[in-house]
């Protein structure tokens, strides 16, 4: 028998198709460490859902160039566009997040044109919207909130699939928006802008004592202009919309909704599985619904019944001088190498499932080539569904 073997994981199967068939699930979030295949998985699930009849919108973040092209993501206008080539009754819209544009649109939607102009031109706002840590996560959440509102209002989509930004820490997706929100609403900003709003109000003792000292230090380091940019920014933004933190918390609540389902992606490697573990624990702690784990890029072995040791031992019995024998020996050694990789992956997968009993798992083999067309995504979708 030559059954193509993958990892045998001691976990319930993750059945993607029953999730996609459940109309009460309206948001799927794909998350995990950088480079493990989040974007690929999100796109593959989206395509599969669409071809099973759902009306899907997929929000991708930093997709590989050729994958983006395959989905028709060539115009960067921060709006979902129909993907061509879908079969069946459903539909698929795809978009690529433009974080600066999303922020600009938030500003424009919440202030009159004149004030919006002033904010967009503010140097502090420009730094904030293009390079602050956490802005990408914040804007991904913001965009998700917008898409969901649009779906509810216009009935455009019945399923939104979200990819998450490439962070070294998968938890950033959950934590960064609130962190940035707290900072923007927080004491530091209030103190800096105190003169503009009546010094001392709600600031407390430290500020009263140290106000001169730290504004002095900061303007020394950054230059006085920076402080006044921040002050102007806060004054302008304050009257346009409520707290940043509040906005972040509202989207966070959406993620805790039962209509949301998280798919955690990892490769069978130590670091990626460690990130997946953190994430799984966090979801549990915050009562967020986890669909399961996708183990991506798993080594496949065709000749499962021959161990690596047996292959090496047999190869060693062959004569390297003979053409056929040396070919056979080379093939056996190649098999041994695959077995070695597979057994290391098996070991890592077992450690994960032992620590997280009961979490559904599906595996996707490492394909020989990168995934960059709809057919490739369909294949990955099929492999995902065969838990």
């Amino acid at each position: 028998m030559t059954v193509r073997g993958q990892l045998s994981v001691d976990a319930p199967p993750l059945r993607i198709d029953s999730i996609l068939g459940d109309r009460s699930i309206r948001i799927i979030v794909c998350t995990g460490a950088g480079g493990v295949g989040k974007t690929t998985t999100a796109a593959a699930i989206a395509l599969r859902a669409a071809e099973q009849g759902r009306r899907v919108c997929v929000l991708t973040i930093d997709p590989a160039r050729r994958l983006a092209q395959a989905m028709g993501l060539t115009t960067l206008d921060n709006t979902p566009r129909a993907v061509e080539g879908i079969t069946g009754a459903g539909s698929l819209d795809a978009m690529m997040l433009d974080m600066k544009r999303t922020f600009d649109e938030v500003v424009e939607a919440h202030s009159d044109p004149e004030r919006a102009q002033a904010i967009l031109a503010n140097p502090f706002y420009q730094a904030l919207s293009s390079s602050f840590a956490g802005t990408q996560e914040y804007m991904a959440m913001e965009k998700l909130g917008q898409l969901r509102t649009e779906a509810d209002r216009d009935g455009t989509w019945d399923l939104i699939i979200v990819d998450t930004p490439p962070a070294r820490n998968a938890l950033d997706f959950l934590d960064a928006p609130a962190r940035l929100g707290s900072f923007l609403d927080g004491r530091f900003i209030r103190v800096l802008t105190a003169p503009a709003r009546g010094a001392g109000r709600g600031i407390g003792k430290i500020a009263v004592m140290g106000f001169g000292l730290f504004t002095g230090v900061l303007s020394k380091i950054l230059g006085a202009q920076v402080l006044s940019d921040i002050g102007n920014f806060v004054a302008a933004i304050d009257t346009t919309f409520g707290g940043f933190r509040e906005r972040a918390d509202a989207t966070y609540a959406l993620l805790q909704d039962l209509g949301t389902s998280f798919v955690v992606v990892a490769t069978p490697e130590r670091d990626a599985l460690r990130e997946a573990s953190y994430f799984v624990e966090r979801l549990k702690a915050d009562g967020m619904p986890l669909a399961g784990l996708v183990l991506n890029r798993v080594q496949v072995v065709t000749l499962t019944e021959m161990s690596g040791e047996e292959a090496i031992a047999s190869a060693d019995r062959l004569d390297d001088g003979d053409e056929i024998e040396s070919l056979t020996a080379a093939l056996l050694r190649l098999h041994a190498q695959r077995q070695q990789i597979a057994s290391r992956q098996q070991h890592l997968a077992e450690r994960f499932t032992a620590a997280h009993a009961g979490i559904p798992v599906t595996t996707v083999p490492a394909l020989a080539e990168d995934v960059h067309d709809l057919q490739g995504l369909r294949e990955v979708g099929q492999l995902l569904a065969e838990a």
């Binding site: 140097p123 730094a127 380091i221 202009q225 021959m306 093939l331 056996l332 190649l334």
Partner: protein, 344 residues
């Protein structure tokens, strides 16, 4: 082992003996996440420390990657010896923490360390070091440049080379180009001046930015894009480290047959039987044929990616996948390999 194009050392032409990067004091190691930046940076620091030299390995992402790699307890923010190199050299390590670097900066330039605790309380330190990456980066790169200036000043505690385990390719140009990064926040003022000083070291022949990649499509694409970005910003590109390559398992002829599905399966089955395999030899041969075909597809992809790297026309260093993972012994092995390819 076979003699085939696959067993030839692809860097053969690069095997030289003189100093590989004359005049370079700061080696910045970037690359795709997980490709081996930390590992290669450490091996490079070891290789450069051979024969009685002293090198410093710096990390800036607050992850204690150096401590993990050298299997020590978390390292404090001080220079500390972590390994000796063959011939009496030493590798020192410094995990740079942005909070500490900011307090240092306040002390050195303003004699203001005590203001730190007040600034911390109101979130100003957090702002400067975590939320506003431009400020954080100028502090981190500033530390690297301070170490380079030690060399220039012939200070007694100077190192011969500084190796920086840097942020990944997607962020490297921004990280190094601190000048334009802080300009969004601080157009004038001391931070701005400091950034200019930093740039005078980083965008100069004193620095080389190396990129670590794998023979896979996305890491190579990131490398190509990264080099373009670095060059556009006037940052000096050093070498490319192709990491975790696998040994050639089949000869060119064998690969042709594997790809085409024309391997002599009957003869292979007979040879397998003669070698004493316990499973049905015909099934063994068929399965080995399928595995070989997948392997050939993988080799094709690697060949394609290798060609794209060659087209970049930069010094390239190929390093093998170490089957049992990276420990101190493996680091020495990688360092020796780098030495044999002319890194010194």
């Amino acid at each position: 082992m076979h003699t085939s194009p696959w067993t030839a050392d692809p860097d053969y032409a690069e095997t030289v003996t003189q100093t590989r990067w004359p005049g370079v004091a700061l080696h910045v190691v970037s690359g795709k996440g997980g490709a081996g930046k930390t590992t290669i940076a450490a091996a490079l620091a070891l290789a450069l420390a051979h024969d009685g030299k002293r090198t410093l390995l710096m990390e800036v992402e607050g992850r204690q990657g150096i401590a993990q790699l050298f299997d020590t307890a978390p390292l404090p923010y001080t220079e500390r010896k972590v390994a000796v190199a063959p011939g009496g050299g030493e590798v020192w390590a410094l995990p740079v923490d942005p909070h500490e670097a900011l307090l240092d900066y306040l002390e050195i330039f303003y004699n203001l360390r005590r203001a730190g605790s007040v600034l911390k309380k109101i979130g100003a330190i957090d702002f400067a070091t975590t939320i506003a990456p431009g400020l954080r980066d100028v502090l981190l790169t500033g530390k690297a440049c301070e170490l380079v200036r030690r060399i220039d000043k012939n200070a007694p505690d100077a190192y011969q080379a500084i190796v920086l385990d840097a942020p990944p390719t997607g962020r490297i140009a921004k990280f190094l180009n601190v000048n334009s990064e802080v300009s969004g926040i601080a157009k004038v003022g001391p931070i701005h001046k400091h950034a200019e000083l930093v740039m005078s070291v980083i965008a100069s022949p004193r620095t080389a930015v190396h990129l670590v990649t794998l023979l896979e499509e996305m890491p190579v694409q990131e490398t190509v894009d990264g080099i373009e970005e670095l060059r556009a910003d006037g940052l000096p590109v050093g070498g490319i480290f192709v990491n975790m390559t696998r040994p050639a398992m089949l000869s060119a002829d064998q690969l042709v047959q594997a790809r085409a599905g024309t391997l002599p399966l009957d003869a292979i089955a007979a040879a397998a039987a003669a070698a004493g395999v316990r499973t049905d030899p015909a099934l063994v041969a068929a399965a080995l044929g399928l595995e070989a075909r997948e392997h050939a597809a993988r080799v094709d992809l690697e060949t394609r990616e290798r060609r794209r790297i060659d087209e970049l026309d930069l010094p390239t260093f190929t390093l093998p996948m170490i089957p049992d993972g990276i420990d101190l012994g493996a680091l020495y092995e990688l360092a020796l390999l780098l030495r044999s390819k002319g890194v010194r």
